[in-house]
Symmetry: C2
Subunit: 328 residues, 2 copies
DNA sequence: CATTATTGTAAAAACGTTATTACAAGTTAA
DNA sequence: TTAACTTGTAATAACGTTTTTACAATAATG
C-alpha cells in the first residue's frame, strides 16, 4: 500500500495540513514539528501523488510530442531534444507516433486534451485550414515544428526557412552548371514539402531556367517514394542531370534508383537534399545537404511551449526561425 | 472554460450521477434522458477529465519507456513499437531518455512513481544488484528490455538470446577461417555487453581458439568508442583479422578506424556485429549482422506490461526470447 | 386493492492533494 | 492587566470524476 499524506499525519498524531505545509514549505511550521515530519517522510517513504496534485493545481506538468515517424532521424532527434529540455523544466513528455496519418494525429490530440497535458509540440502531417480551427485555441498551447498550418490564426512555431534553404540548394546546382534540374518532394499536405518545392521553383525562375513539369516529383517523404519517382523520371527520354530531394530519404531512394539503372553518382546525377546526416560514416557518396538542427528545434520548441504554458503574456508572435547548416 | 460533468447536469436540470451513468454506460437510464444527455455532451463539447478519472480509478492509463538514447536506431524502433502497441491498449506513453546515465534513469523512475504511471519498460544501463531491489517491487510493474538486471528476483523481460547470437557470429568467423578474432563491447555494467562478450569467449574456447587479451575491447556502445578501441588495436604489432562488434555503432567506428589506417574491409579486417541495418541503402561494405527485431521487442514489451498491469495473476516467469535474424 | 418487484434518479462519499479560514496559545504593547 | 498582535496548528472545502446507497415512482403480482 502506498503512503499518503494522512498516513504520515496519523503516524505522528498531527493534522494533514501541517504535513502538507512542511512538504510544500509554503507556510511556517515549528522547527521540531518540521523535523519530525521530514523523518517520518523518510521512514515511511512518502511520495506525493502527482495525480492528486494535478487535480488540485489544474496542471499536469506533462507535455506531448506528436511526430509522424519516430524512426526518422530528424524526428527522433527532435523528440529527444524536446523531452530533454522539457525535463529541465520539470515536465515529462508523452510520445505520439502518428504514422503519417492525419486521423491518428487528430485522435492523439483529443486524447491529450482529455489527459490534461499542459501543451503539445506538433509535427503535423496536414496543413489544411479547417482541420486547425479546433486545434489552435486558447485551451491548450501548441507549438508547431517542421510543418506549419496554412491559416491566418496566430500560432507558435519553431522551424528553419525551408523556402530559402531549398532556393539556396537549387542555386548551388545552377551555379555548378546543371541544367536539367529535377525536384522530389513529399505530400503537398505538408508545408515543408510545399515550401521546398517553392524554393526550387523560385530559384529556377529567377535564374531563367526552364521548368520541366516531368522533373517535378510529388510523393511522400519515404525512401520508396524517392526510388519510384526517380525511377520513372529516368525511364523517360529526357533525363535530369541533377535533383533536389526534399529530404534525405527521398535522396537515398533516388540514388538507389539511379544506381539500379547503372548511373554513377554524382557524375550522371548530382543529388542534393535536406538532412542527409551520415551517422555511420560509411557512405562514400557525397550528398550536399542542408542540415536542420533537429535536436535544437526540439529543445527550443519545448522551451517555447513551457513559456507559453507558464506565462500567459508570452507573445504569440515571438516565433523562431533557426539557421540550418550547409554541408557539401 | 472547460465543460465539466456538473455543467451538463445543470444545463439539463438533472443530477451529476445520471450524466455520469450515461457516459459510462454502466447503469440503466431512461432512453429519453440518455438522448438528452448525449445531445448536451455533443453541444457543450464535454470531454471527461482524465486526471480526475485517474484519481478515482487509481490508474493513469499511462506507461513509460526509458531508453539510453533515442537517436540510436535500436532504441527508437523499440520505443516506436512500444508506444504504438500501448496505444492499441489505450495507454499513452511517456518517453524518458536517460542519456546512458544511471542517475538520470533512477531520477526518472522516481518521477514516474509519483506520476502514478501504471508500468515502465526499462532499457537500463546498469545491471548491478542493489540498484534494483528498489525497482523490482510489486508496486509498479517493470518490463526489462535489452539489458537485464543481474539479480535473483523474478522480473519480466523481452529480449533475444544475446550470448547465443554472439556465439553464432563468432563461430561464423571461425568457420570462415579467421584466426585472430577481436571483440568490441560496451560497458560491462550492461548485460547485453557482457552476454555478447561471453558468447564470443565461449565460441572461441569451444573451438580451441587462442584468446588474446589484447583483442578484447571494452568501452561503451557509441561510435567513438569503437573507433578508439579499434585504432589502438591496430597500432599494435599483432593485428586482428576479424572482429565481432557488440553493436552497429561500435562496428562503424571500428571500420572507420581501419579505413583511416589504410586497411580494406573486409579483406584486411572482417567485421561482424549486431543491428547493422542500413537505412540508406548506400553502404556498400557488407557487414554480416544479427538483427534484433527492435520494433517487435517494443511491441511485445508493451503487451507484456499491459498484461501485468491488468492481470495480477500474470505469471512473472512468462518471459519472452525473440528470434533475431541473420543478415550476411 | 394491497403487496412486491422493477426502474430511474438523486445525494453523498471517496480518490489524495492543497489553500483558505478559523482559532487557540503565546507574545508584545499600552 | 487587558487589548492587540504573532505563531502554530486544525478543520474544511475545493479539484472532477465514479460508485454506492437510498428512495421515489411505476409496473407486476397475489
Amino acid at each position: 500500500m502506498t503512503v499518503r499524506l494522512v498516513d504520515i499525519a496519523e503516524h505522528l498524531g498531527i493534522s494533514v495540513s501541517t504535513v502538507s505545509r512542511v512538504i510544500n514549505g509554503k507556510d511556517r511550521v515549528k522547527d521540531e514539528t518540521r523535523k519530525r515530519v521530514l523523518e517520518a517522510v523518510e521512514e515511511l517513504q512518502y511520495r506525493p501523488n502527482e495525480i492528486a496534485r494535478s487535480l488540485r493545481y489544474q496542471n499536469s506538468m506533462t507535455i506531448a510530442v506528436i511526430v509522424p515517424d519516430l524512426s526518422n532521424n530528424f524526428f527522433n532527434l527532435l523528440t529527444k531534444g524536446a523531452a530533454t529540455a522539457a525535463k529541465e523544466d520539470n515536465y515529462l513528455t508523452i510520445l505520439c507516433n502518428s504514422d503519417y496519418d492525419q486521423k491518428m494525429e487528430q485522435e492523439y490530440m483529443n486524447l491529450l486534451v482529455q489527459k490534461q497535458v499542459d501543451g503539445v509540440i506538433l509535427a503535423t502531417v496536414c496543413k489544411e485550414k479547417d482541420y486547425f480551427e479546433n486545434i489552435i485555441t486558447d485551451d491548450m498551447p501548441v507549438v508547431f515544428v517542421d510543418n506549419l498550418p496554412d491559416v491566418d490564426l496566430d500560432f507558435n512555431y519553431v522551424t528553419i526557412d525551408n523556402e530559402r534553404a531549398a532556393y539556396d540548394l537549387t542555386a548551388h546546382l545552377i551555379q555548378q552548371g546543371y541544367e536539367d534540374i529535377a525536384v522530389l518532394t513529399g505530400s503537398l499536405h505538408e508545408t515543408s514539402a510545399v515550401k521546398r518545392l517553392q524554393g526550387w521553383e523560385n530559384a529556377m525562375k529567377s535564374h531563367d531556367m526552364t521548368i520541366n513539369q516531368q522533373f517535378i516529383g510529388v510523393g511522400d517523404f519515404r525512401i520508396e517514394s524517392g526510388y519510384n519517382m526517380m525511377a520513372s523520371m529516368l525511364n523517360r527520354r529526357k533525363r535530369p542531370d541533377a535533383v533536389l530531394a526534399a529530404n534525405n530519404y527521398l535522396a537515398y531512394g533516388a540514388i538507389r534508383a539511379a544506381q539500379d539503372k547503372g548511373l554513377l553518382i554524382p557524375d550522371d546525377l548530382y543529388v542534393v537534399c535536406f538532412d542527409a546526416v551520415d551517422k555511420t560514416g560509411l557512405i562514400n557518396i557525397n550528398i550536399p545537404s542542408i542540415i536542420q538542427p533537429a535536436q535544437k528545434i526540439g529543445e527550443v520548441a519545448a522551451e517555447t511551449l513551457v513559456k507559453r504554458i507558464t506565462d500567459k503574456n508570452y507573445t504569440l508572435y515571438d516565433n523562431i526561425i533557426l539557421e540550418p547548416i550547409f554541408k557539401g
